[in-house]
């Protein structure tokens, strides 16, 4: 029963009222309470997989479909460069409504859902989050919807070719095939730390994502040496596997859960209580996916290295003193700024480094910036990632800087490639801080060796080249 169902002036709800106010007419209390439930539509006795899926995501999708104000469009990096109406946050919700109504099938829409970096801009900018999300305890969940549709596609046997190969390789090697034709393996996951004398296990371990462990090894080397300089005790994981986040993002959820379980078991086996994370994508996995998988059993503290470094600088345990003569701007990684609200600490670090000419762009403007490197996009659609990176680099170029600083290894490869044509160097914030602390970082910044995330070995070890749009 709703207000609209009632008629007549004697009806207590004929006059507008605010539910719950103590001066409401007493008769109102006689109207039975109703609770919003999942089962808005009575479930059928023998639901199809699509019905089971839309049952779960109908509510989140109608939240957008019934609003449809499209504030999300101009902050969406994919919409910006493609203007394809099927690749907008609005469409990602509307499709679920269409599936619910039996107008579309997962086969019809699965490929559209590739076109999302899961940057979170749309769901933050959506008024249903930004202005009412906390007030109504209900917000827009585009990233969850996109992940869920991708998972439903995989469960329905609808695969994207590169994603399937990528995840099969990851499953086989326990790490993402970030070096293209060069195999990655468990035996080499700690190679980046050569000569740094880091113990295994202990109360605190440093988790290094696949891209940083195998491709941009300068980042973990910088992080480890800065920690050592500050006298911060840490070890490396006994047997580190990929965090599982990319598999979850591409729809391979069972695999993601297996990887998560392995890592949690491994932390437990070495008595680890705290995990330091240098990569924003891992930070999302450990603070959003793992809690969903493990619930109350999840007792591992997760610390983002950027936050830790800002704190160590504040406490005087790190004092960058070697001037770095660069003109820089900072790229807010989507998973820190938009998805976690972390934007202050990286700026604190950069402002502590002497010599930098820092041309900052505020965090809200950067809601519409993205490297294009997230959500598996570079694996399946490298050209689209490149277009988004080029767009981001143009914004930096307009500031007449020589360096774009990021805090996300996954953004640094596409941004670095796009930066080359504009003579903009892409540097990681941890590398920059280490340099200003007088550390000779070592390792590789990737790039020159021709590794390409879009070149994944197939089952018979034939390289798969880039696919066009």
């Amino acid at each position: 029963m709703t207000q609209l169902d009632r008629q007549g002036t004697s009806d207590p709800v004929a006059v507008p009222f605010t539910p719950g106010m103590r001066d409401n007419p007493e008769e109102l209390a006689l109207i039975p309470d109703e609770i919003a439930r999942e089962h808005v539509v009575p479930p059928s006795d023998d639901p199809t997989p699509t019905e089971q899926f839309t049952e779960q995501w109908r509510n989140a999708s109608y939240n957008c479909f019934s609003s449809g104000h499209k504030f999300c469009r101009e902050v969406c990096p994919v919409t910006q460069v493609t203007r394809n109406e099927s690749w907008t946050p609005t469409a990602f919700h509307a499709n679920v409504v269409a599936m619910d109504k039996g107008e579309l099938t997962i086969e019809d829409v699965a490929a559209d859902y590739v076109n999302c970096t899961q940057c979170g801009a749309c769901e933050l900018r959506c008024p249903n989050s930004l202005f009412t999300g906390d007030f109504y305890r209900f917000r827009t969940r585009t990233v969850d919807v996109v992940k869920a549709v991708r998972a439903f596609a995989v469960d329905s046997g609808v695969h994207q070719p590169q994603w399937r190969t990528w995840n099969a390789r990851t499953d086989e090697r326990t790490h993402e095939p970030v070096l293209g034709d060069t195999p990655v393996s468990q035996d080499h996951v700690r190679d980046w730390s050569e000569g740094l004398d880091i113990p295994i296990g202990g109360e605190t371990v440093l988790f290094v994502d696949c891209e940083a462990a195998f491709y941009r090894t300068s980042v973990p080397r910088a992080v480890a040496q800065v920690l050592q300089l500050a006298g911060y005790e840490f070890g490396l994981m006994g047997e580190q596997w990929c965090c599982g986040g990319p598999a979850a993002e591409m729809g391979y959820v069972d695999q993601a859960k297996r990887f998560a379980q392995h890592n949690l078991d491994n932390w437990r086996s070495t008595g680890t209580r705290r995990v330091l994370v240098l990569d924003p994508h891992d930070y999302i996995s450990f603070t959003e996916d793992y809690p969903k998988y493990f619930g109350d059993d999840y007792d591992i503290e997760v610390v983002l290295v950027v936050e830790l470094f800002a704190q160590l600088i504040r406490e005087g345990r790190l004092t960058p003193s070697v001037p770095i003569e660069r003109s820089i701007t900072y790229h807010d990684p989507c998973r820190l700024n938009k998805r976690k609200g972390i934007w202050k600490e990286p700026r604190e670090i950069l402002r502590a480094i002497p010599g930098l000419d820092f041309k900052d762009v505020d965090r809200v403007t950067q809601w519409s910036y993205c490297s294009g490197g997230g959500g598996g996009l570079p694996v399946e659609k490298p050209d689209l990632t490149a277009a988004i990176s080029a767009n981001r680099i143009q914004k930096a170029s307009a500031l007449e800087v020589d360096t774009l600083v990021s805090a996300c290894p996954w953004s640094e490869r596409p941004l670095g490639e796009a930066g080359r044509s504009e003579s903009i160097d892409v540097v990681d914030i941890h590398e920059l801080l280490a340099e200003s602390l007088g550390i000779v970082v070592g390792g590789s910044r990737g790039g020159a060796d021709g590794a390409d995330p879009s070149r994944v070995e197939t089952a018979n070890d034939e390289p798969v080249g880039k696919r066009g749009e």
């Binding site: 719950g20 101009e74 603070t287 007792d299 403007t365």
Partner: protein
Amino acid sequence: MSDSPNSATNGRIGYRYAEQMTPPEPERVTDVAITTHPHVFEVDPRLMERWVLQQQFPNWDSLRIMNSRADHLAWMHRHFAYSVVTGSELLAEVEAESSSGPGGEGPTGV
């Protein structure tokens, strides 16, 4: 600009599941609204749940939204338009841009 979500953890950095899943004790501010975190007003979930399925928000998420809202409003004020632009001027600008090739949108849409 606003504080970071660390205000949910008394300034202590790091994510701890139990802490994130335990919101501060709510305070009633009117008959129909409560505050959990300071400045985060919520319709009393008891009333809200009659119409809208209530989601679970870890502390960081409530604070992220609240802080982002404040930042966005400040941003809007900084970008407040003090002049009126005619539609024809805008169209001319769009045409000029599209003739110089595809590109991303600027912050105007934020």
